[in-house]
């Protein structure tokens, strides 16, 4: 079972073999997410951000290196319900209602849905989808689907939350709203969170530390601490210190 709520990667490397070539997705990646912290992973497309997340979830096995999720083997941690996950594409089951989709992890973990009934209703309220409990994903907008997938990630009250570009498909306005929402939701649960993103301001606004990645081979080049006090309000988006940090990250991102 879970020992703590940290995520730890040490010297992790992973190579993928496609039809024609081999891709070094990760090279010597080390990352440590302390319990209750929020870490943002930022980098260009295809730099291995999602692979780090998948490795931490036990969906991919690293070729070399050590991965501990919740202080233990990722597969043991996920099977115990200690982790929650939301992917970029909401990845909802098209034939399940909003409620049914949120309940999916409960079904996978073999727990009884009836024990979670009240909590699922709370989550639907939390993500602002009252009245859509019985809707199918095809009947929802992209933003609504994404909120369903966030609610699904929270249904097990996980100590560790892995978010793979959860707002990647949303517009800027909705995204800011969702960032503030996510902070609120997160500060209630204080789950150790790994957030994969390609939005600099999203990373700075939400994270305690931002890990900047580079491409080919995928690697972490620097980890920047974000000192702003919580709770952070939307005024932060317009402060000079906020922009300075953002510029610093942008420079590291682009400077090879």
């Amino acid at each position: 079972m879970m020992i703590d709520r940290s995520i730890r990667l040490e010297n992790v490397s992973k190579t993928f073999y496609t039809r024609s070539k081999e891709v070094k997705a990760l090279e010597n990646v080390s990352l440590s997410c302390e319990p209750g912290s929020l870490t943002a992973l930022i980098g260009p497309s295809g730099c291995g951000k999602s692979t780090i997340l998948r490795v931490a979830l036990g969906l991919e096995k690293p070729d070399t290196g050590l991965v501990l999720t919740g202080g233990t083997n990722p597969q043991i941690a996920t099977a115990s319900g200690a982790t929650g996950v939301a992917f970029q594409d909401s990845a909802l089951l098209p034939w399940r209602t909003v409620e049914g989709n949120i309940a999916l992890p409960i079904d996978v973990l073999g727990k009884r849905r009836s024990e979670f009934g009240g909590y699922i209703r709370d989550l639907i309220r939390l993500v602002g989808l009252e009245g859509f409990e019985k809707s199918l994903p095809g009947e929802l907008s992209g933003g609504m689907r994404q909120r369903v997938s966030i609610a699904r990630a929270l249904v097990t009250s996980p100590g560790i939350l892995l978010l793979d570009e959860p707002f990647g498909a949303l517009d800027q306005i909705l995204r800011r709203q969702m960032n503030i929402e996510l902070q609120r939701i997160w500060s209630e649960s204080r789950a150790t969170t790994l957030l994969v993103t390609h939005g600099i301001d999203e990373a700075v606004f939400l994270a305690d530390q931002v890990a900047v990645m580079h491409n080919r081979p995928g690697r972490i080049v620097t980890i920047i601490d974000i000192p702003f006090r919580r709770p952070r309000s939307k005024e932060l988006f317009s402060q000079t210190a906020f922009h300075k940090l953002g510029d610093a990250i942008a420079t590291t991102l682009h400077g090879e």
Binding site: T78, A91, L93
Partner: protein, 529 residues
Amino acid sequence: MASEYQQNWLGRFTWLRNLLLLIALWEVVGRPKLVASGALPPPSAILVSLYLDRADYPPHIWATLQAAVLGFIIGNSAAILAGVLFVISPLALRLARGINIAIFSLPPIAIVPVLVLTLSGMTARVVLAALGCYFATMTATVLGLSQADQRSMDVVRAYGGNSWTIMRLVRLRSALPSILGGLRIAAPNAVLGAILAEFGGGGRWGLGTYLLGSLGRADPPRLWGIGLVATAIAGLAYAIFAMAGYHVTGASTAVTIPASVASTSSDEHTRTPLIRASLVMASVILPLLVWWLLLKAIDVPSLIAKTPLGVIDYLFLANSAPTAQLKLLQAFSQTLPITILGLFAGLAVAFLLAILSETFPAIARTMLPIALVTQTMPLVALTPLLVLLLGRGTAVTLWITISVTFFPSFATIAQGLILVPKAALELPRAYGATKVKELQLVAVPASLPYLFAALRLAVPRALLGVMIAEWLATGTGLGNLLNQSRGYLDYGMIWTVAAASVLLSILLYQLVVLAERKLFGRLGMKTSE
């Protein structure tokens, strides 16, 4: 507004109008017995004959239904269970490959004599009906299960779900439209299998038996009547599953297209050539073993029931071997070219019609009932009529071959076109693409796996069509050889032709699979096989 409403209302019934027009035309053409001296009786004469024979039908229909339904249940249960097993364990799929292909490739007509020789009447019918269902449903199940949305499966895996959890929560439900598509094809197959076995075997009741008894009476209206009743049964079975599929597809079409390139499974890399070779060997030996074991189990004299060794003995070792080889080779050289020609002609027609019906749904609504009729009318019974209409040449063989390959291909390809995600279709539309361009850019490539599945489905059916035509009309090739051997009680040759036609079918099937692998490997797509 009113006229628009009226137009819509009328539009929905165009197919009915077209169908009625067609029937009217048939009536006019058939009435004066102009076509082939009465081989095409007018619908009114068929109705009169149906009414006159009304007392005969119930027991025959009941007998056919019993065999078909029982075979349908047994065959499809086995098929779905096998499909689930194959997706969970690729090793099982590898091992069962030979058995699958052999079951699939058995041209029913070739094994009717064999089944009737070894099994009792009702059992032979149920077995043939079940065999007709198995492969269509099994491939549809595997296809549907293995093309489930990778992202949804990742979510389940991310919560520690194993392959059984994924099967239960994602794969089975998302495969439902595909499985129903398979059952839709299987339903008329079961009826056809039952009738074919009745035709070739003894027994008192059954539509096939009724047909056999009516063949000699030179009474085309009755033959058509029986054919239409059989068609109605098969059509009804088809419609039930088509409707179920329609209700299910709405909910489970993915909202976006999954972009993940299917990677080759990792154990494929780690297997040594030696292990791979022995797997292939095992999959080849397994069907022969089953053949041998089944014969041992039912205990039929070895004079009648030939084991694999018996066939080898007959074809290579016995005194009569050279004559047998010569006969077989000659039959092969007649059957093969026409089979390939008919195969591609049938597939081309199916593909064109599937695309046409995607563009103009009214065409599909008019053509489908007609296509269904050509499919479900027992060709064995139709062939004498077709001979009168088309003569005893290549035309009749081609016609029969196209009509047996066309329908399952059409259903499979149309299924592929329906499942193309909306978003993917809207992209070219957004760039002002024409319907043709849209099909060319998205629908056709996206349905390519289904096109190849259709081709694989069509291979043995093409052989079946050719052999039926040869048996009953042209008097050439493998079909004729089978029929002759039945007459001469040449059991060795009956088993040899059955085995040889299965082998030919397997060979053609393997060629398709090879082409599919080459193409899909280049395109980075996953084969359903």
